[in-house]
Homo-oligomer: 162 residues x 2
């Protein structure tokens, strides 16, 4: 059970976009360079964010991405699901139906108990991610990252933001 690396990329990119001044855009090229990622492939992750309406885009030189709403209105689950999909990690194939002792026409009243428990854990995972806002991440980073690096990074970003 392993998340795609694109999830990591998308989260870091959103953190950067959250620091952009109102109305400015940052390109795939800049985001790829900043994080040392393959530009073409990172582009797919950003497209997922766009399809999920988490980011706005604009074309042409000085084009790129910006958050579609404020960082306090975007949570981790939004971003993770945009890239990874909304499917549950546990898939119930109803193997209880293969029980040779089943009477013909036997009908289950509820979803399989095994699946319900696994889905409960899945929900706990989602709840945790839902409770963390993108603005929380930015808050943590602004405290932990050394001020000189924090500042020079945003200077670097602003120089490239259209």
């Amino acid at each position: 059970m392993i998340l795609k690396s694109q999830v990591e990329w998308a989260l870091h990119c959103c953190a950067i976009l959250a620091g952009l001044p109102e109305g400015r855009y940052l390109s795939t090229k800049a985001l790829a360079e900043l994080h040392g990622l393959p530009k073409e492939y990172l582009s797919k992750a950003l497209q997922s964010l766009s399809q999920a309406s988490l980011v706005d885009t604009t074309l042409g030189p000085s084009g790129g991405y910006r958050l579609a709403r404020s960082a306090s209105e975007i949570n981790f689950l939004d971003i993770v699901e945009a890239v990874e999909g909304k499917a549950r990690s546990f898939t119930c194939t109803n193997i209880r139906e293969n029980n040779p002792c089943r009477p013909a026409g036997y009908c289950d009243s509820k979803p399989c108990a095994v699946a319900r428990i696994m889905w409960e854990a899945d929900e706990a995972w989602r709840d945790t991610l839902r409770r963390v806002r993108l603005s929380d991440l930015v808050g943590i980073l602004s405290e932990e990252v050394r001020p000189d690096l924090w500042q020079s990074t945003f200077e670097w970003v602003l120089k490239r933001a259209g």
Copy 2:
């Protein structure tokens, strides 16, 4: 992020083993037939349970598997991790280190904040699974499964248990 189907198989098999009388064993063949699963491949899942010391095995005719300890001393996480592995679902590749603004020799004081949050969600998932005992599953099933099917299934099992 999708769990292997072997996880589902292992959980259902353990539920059956939990119903075995003290000291008796059930073979891969019987477990595969009961659940309609490929015997050879199911065998790999059962081997994982064995390697994790969740089940005891014995060879020869009338051989097979039984729980290594009581169903109240085995939780869902034990079984899931035995099959799926203990690796976290989120892997941090430390892409922050690729930031071109980083001063040479810059040293991070903590693991990446993004990773810490993702790992927290991972722990919530694990905690939920850790809190559910195999005996809890058996309790739920014994209430939900229609008594005639419940009984005939265990007759079927006992006929094949060595």
